[in-house]
């Protein structure tokens, strides 16, 4: 992208600045065949078959997040973004173990995070019009998960924490795809 500076003002129009995530959808990177974009926003997915997006509904207790920390090597080197999300599922069960063991075996994952402010941002995928299908996975480091099962003490909460990490060259793209569309896809 060519060097350019656009005017930006966060003090007008009262933008929704609520942080956090509501819920997410996940699939394997290889499940996606192509993306359609409009003005840098993903408007549609073409999938290798239906039913591959899985909805992840985790605890709404102000612990879930999706952050993208920018970093430059030696201040002026290549720019990268460390993408990190945390999803917390309260409880501890055999079903949680099976979910964690299975998703941990996937080495390239894609997540659509529905933010508290309603925006939808995609972790694990970068728009690349020169690539087959118009996208790649995160270019610097693959996006994968680190599950942790916390039993805790009787004074604490048992929980499954899914930490999702990857590293991209660009900030994660947004999408306009709706819940209805993604669940029918």
């Amino acid at each position: 992208m060519a060097c350019a500076i656009a005017a930006l003002n966060s003090t007008s129009g009262c933008p929704d600045n609520e942080g956090g995530l509501q819920y997410s959808y996940a699939c394997k990177l290889t499940d996606i065949t192509a993306i359609t974009t409009s003005s840098g926003v993903i408007t549609n997915f073409t999938m290798s078959t239906t039913g591959l997006w899985k909805k992840l509904v985790y605890n709404l207790d102000e612990t879930s997040y999706f952050n993208q920390q920018g970093e430059r090597t030696n201040e002026t080197g290549a720019l990268k973004y460390q993408q990190e999300a945390l999803l917390k599922f309260g409880g501890m069960s055999s079903a949680y173990k099976a979910f964690a063991d299975d998703i941990a075996d996937c080495c390239k994952l894609v997540f659509v995070h529905v933010l508290t402010n309603g925006s939808r941002v995609i972790q694990g995928l970068e728009i690349d019009s020169a690539a087959v299908g118009g996208f790649t996975g995160t270019k610097v480091r693959d996006t994968l998960v680190v599950p942790s099962q916390m039993g805790g003490t009787a004074a604490e909460e048992s929980r499954l924490e899914i930490l999702i990490r990857g590293k991209g060259k660009k900030l994660a793209p947004f999408t306009t795809i709706t819940d209805t569309a993604i669940e029918a896809l």
Binding site: I35, T36, N44, F45, T46
Partner: protein, 80 residues
């Protein structure tokens, strides 16, 4: 000559290739039936995915779907 739309050759080997157009799920290479496994809230069910029409492909092409390409086909009158 008339403009027609088709799936690009590099995507024709994916039998259940599918996408969304105007709120419906369509198959791009061939119609298929997908079995949605049972969940805690719903029993197993089968979902039929119809194959895209020329109208669907035209709309996808207009949206910029990288799987669809335009080509020109001779009308019968042109051939004669």
């Amino acid at each position: 000559m008339v403009a027609m739309y088709r799936i690009k050759p590099q995507f024709t080997n994916i039998p259940n290739l599918c996408t969304q157009i105007e709120g419906k799920t369509i198959a791009l290479n061939q119609a298929f039936v997908n079995t949605v496994p049972a969940s805690a809230s719903a029993p197993e069910r089968k979902v039929s995915v119809p194959v895209a029409t020329q109208s669907d492909l035209k709309a996808l092409y207009a949206q910029g779907c990288p799987c669809v390409e335009e080509f020109e086909e001779k009308l019968k009158a042109d051939k004669e």
